[in-house]
Symmetry: C2
Subunit: 197 residues, 2 copies
């Protein structure tokens, strides 16, 4: 209670608290369209108070993108990502990606909208592409072992898979009718078996 921070209530933000509000605003209006002014208003602070916690608007973005990318890369490091045949490993990674999307929804949402305008954005895109490439390699492996159909190009298949998964950030909201686990199962069902009866 003397020097050590006992964090409660609202005013008296720490960096994580600033970041959470900022990311929500970035997702609502878009990063560029969100001024430090409206951010300050949402925080109930003055603009300059934000600069006590972060050096720039850019740094807010960098911190947020790091959250998302750490989560995704973490999936590839899990044991099940390198255990079993390629189809099993692919299923694990897809399930893991859905889990990270739903767990860190705002951060991943922001990541998926980054265009590469700044150095920070370009570094994030590079990390994201590396993740995508790892999954693409799994798809090729799964096809080569005979688990996946050969009449759809693996590159196209990977992109359609990511299209399905990444689009989740556009509509999934925690506490909705569909839970995150059920959603991951649905994604795998459609991806592997399709919608036809």
């Amino acid at each position: 209670m003397t020097e050590t921070a006992v964090r409660r209530g609202r005013p008296g933000y720490d960096q994580a608290g600033i970041l959470e509000v900022a990311v929500a605003a970035f997702n609502e209006f878009g990063y560029d369209a969100t001024s430090m002014g409206v951010l300050a208003a949402r925080l109930g602070l003055s603009k300059s108070a934000i600069y006590h916690h972060v050096a720039s608007k850019d740094e807010l973005l960098e911190l947020a993108l790091g959250q998302a990318l750490d989560g995704l890369e973490g999936v590839l490091l899990e044991e099940a990502a390198s255990t079993g045949d390629a189809a099993e490993r692919l299923a694990h990674v897809l399930r893991g990606a859905v889990r990270v999307l739903t767990d860190k929804l705002p951060y991943v949402t922001l990541l998926l909208r980054v265009r590469g305008n700044t150095e920070v954005e370009r570094r994030a895109l590079a990390r994201r592409r590396a993740f995508d490439r790892a999954v693409a390699a799994l798809v090729v492996e799964a096809r080569d072992e005979g688990s996946l159909r050969a009449d759809v190009d693996p590159g196209v298949a990977t992109r359609l898979l990511f299209g399905m998964i990444n689009s989740i950030v556009e509509w999934y909201r925690p506490g909705g009718a569909e839970g995150a686990d059920q959603l991951a199962e649905d994604v795998l069902t459609v991806a592997f078996d399709g919608l036809r009866v």
Copy 2:
């Protein structure tokens, strides 16, 4: 050659020419991040020259979104969109959506990134949602007639379908390895039959 416009070459833009360049820039940097200044530079014009063709930056966006939405809504008006059983109609609309995406790629790309910050954007989102709802109704119908599996919620299924299709704007480029028709077939294959052999 006297009063009538004989349009050739580059300088001496008409509205469509301005729009084409503008949309390319909007897609590259994002709408908000694209200033009228960089737009003018790309056109090889002064900023004020742009205002001879359009009233505002907002109007450029409105014209572009109209192109995309007209195309998508047109698919629903085609005869095959109301002929046959629900699964056949659904297949036609999905194929049509892919065709519009690839034909009007830059315009649809822009549409899919709109957040709803301005009146123009909100009107576009409303039209887009109406299109989505029409497809969702087809999915429900196809499930009810027994063509689609009942163990995936139709709302989720529709969103995953759109996720797959809409993501095409992120990577499809005309003249690439995969043609637009083959791509539409791949989408239908994954959507209906899945990737598993």
